[in-house]
Amino acid sequence: NDGSGPGGDGRDSIEIGALSIVDTAPVHLARSLGFFAEQGIDAKITTVQGGAYSSSGVVSGQFDFGFSNTTTLLTAREQGLPLKAVANGVASTGRAGPGKDYSAVLVPKGSAIKSAKDLPGHKIAVNQLKNIGDTTIRAAVRRAGGDPEKLEFTEIPLPDMPAALAAGRVDAIWTVEPFQTQAIDQGAHEVCWPFAEATDDLTVAMYFTSEKLLREKPDLVKRFTAAVNQALAHARTHPEAVREELGKYTKIPPAVIRRIVLPKWPTEINRPSVQAIADFARKDGVLSRPADVGALLP
């Protein structure tokens, strides 16, 4: 699907590969509120299972734009994938504390773990190893004065985390909304907020495209960015619209939607936080070279 050709009436149709999770609410809003249409774009959003698939889709030309977390994008860039960030995706609220951020480390009732410092020596579930979860946890632990070397990570898909925690298969889980709220409902509580604790105002994920598209259709990219930015701003100021949209494109039970903590959707990419993530990843061996953050960011 080269997709990006102008439609019959001079409009561009594009395909976006993105996960159907809370984080991507703005791009769905942009479509349903007509922000894309205003920019002369017909957008189709295709659900993928992970950021890696949206990257390969963008490289192969199946997608015109993708949504992926910062670590994945940095890794892709290091391996030579010609990707360019074009808009901010989602950011941490930057506030640590129960009910303050949309991602946290949770432990079961009665756990000895009280804060990031207590995590070393325990088995912690993340959805993907060598990705944003474990690097930010390490950073948070390091900041809190713990020994990140002693952390023990294991992979569990996000949906299965609450059950694994309840069954005592792991000591702690790192998860995001809506599973955070679900786990809390089942008796777990938050002890650490790695996104907020690792660095300030972390840019967790971004929208991106390929260098090819950027070169060939700079105007389309500009219009895409404009539409997304408009949506980000809208999402930030209209949480109710976001929750309503979530009811449409996800299967999160309505009762949960009402209570989940929403992330922050700034329009600007926080460059220092991306650099910080790159440095963490380098330190943890996820990246093998110091990253060229400038090559990725617009």
Binding site: A52, L129, K130, I156, D160
Partner: protein, 278 residues
């Protein structure tokens, strides 16, 4: 599988003379097609400049770098251990259940829908359930392997047992062949060609499920490594992992064939002797 050189109608054709020539031909037969395929890959990948399909050269370099290391003992061996355990369990379960189901019409009618039900559930969606019941450790990964490997063995055993020659079965019944002896001397050998077909299928499915099992709740293992490479965009490394999977499959199948030659000796020899011809 028979390795005799046979014509379309099963008639053996003239064999080449000379041990040296024969060895050469054999080598050509084993390596010919793979070499051709690798050449094709080379041509395609060096022309196409595609990120996801690196040249064989790059894959070979990555292979040497990645796999001639501690990974062999840390990732590959434990994976293979789990694979073999799961495979063996699946084999026992498949043959055991298969014989029971194949021998009893009532049991077959009652059990088949349930089994078909489970068979149709994709392992990736079954994994969470297995995780729920069996935890995250080796047991879960072995169970995932069993959950996939058991089907070809089971189905083939059921069909093999159902197809036992009637005269042979009558003979066994008359001479009081019952229970374990009937199983050992009549049912299993009669069904063995089909059971072997199932076991062979299961071998490669086991490898696939080893990877799938290690995609979840894992920190090490061959499958996990391949998936990590894939997610980390280390494409030549990922391909080198796939090559390892292929080599593993090939190695296991060579071993399998050796065992099969022994078990099905009567079957193969019978086919061959009769087929020999002008």
């Amino acid at each position: 599988m028979s390795t005799a050189r046979k014509g379309w109608d099963g008639a053996a054709r003239k064999r080449p003379a000379g041990p040296l020539r024969r060895a050469g031909l054999r080598l050509l037969r084993v390596l010919g097609l793979p070499v051709l395929l690798i050449l094709g890959w080379w041509a395609y990948s060096s022309a196409g400049l595609t990120f996801y399909l690196p040249t064989p050269g790059r894959v070979a370099t990555a292979f040497a770098k990645v796999w001639f290391s501690a990974r062999i003992t840390e990732d590959v061996l434990p994976s293979v251990g789990r694979l073999l355990t799961g495979y063996a369990l699946a084999g026992l379960l498949g043959i055991g259940l298969g014989v029971a189901i194949g021998s009893s019409r009532t049991l077959r009618a009652a059990a088949e829908p349930v089994l078909e039900f489970f068979r149709a559930v994709p392992p990736p969606v079954l994994v969470p359930l297995i995780m729920l019941l069996a935890g995250l450790d080796t047991a879960m990964k072995v169970l995932v392997i069993v959950s996939g490997c058991v089907w070809p063995v089971l189905l083939n055993t059921v069909e093999g047992v159902r197809a036992v020659d009637e005269v042979l079965d009558d003979t066994g019944r008359c001479f009081g062949l019952r229970g374990a002896a009937r199983l050992r001397h009549l049912v299993l050998p009669a069904a063995s060609p089909q059971i072997m077909a199932g076991l062979r299928q299961a071998l490669s499915i086991g490898i696939i499920l080893m990877v799938i099992g290690e995609m979840f709740a894992s920190t090490s293992g061959l499958g996990h490594t391949v998936v990590l490479f894939q997610r980390g965009f280390a494409i030549p490394e990922m391909w080198s992992g796939i090559v390892v999977l292929g080599l593993l499959g090939f190695g296991l199948s060579v071993a399998f064939r050796a065992v099969e030659r022994r078990i099905l000796a009567w079957h193969l020899a019978r086919g061959e002797e009769r087929g020999r011809h002008a």
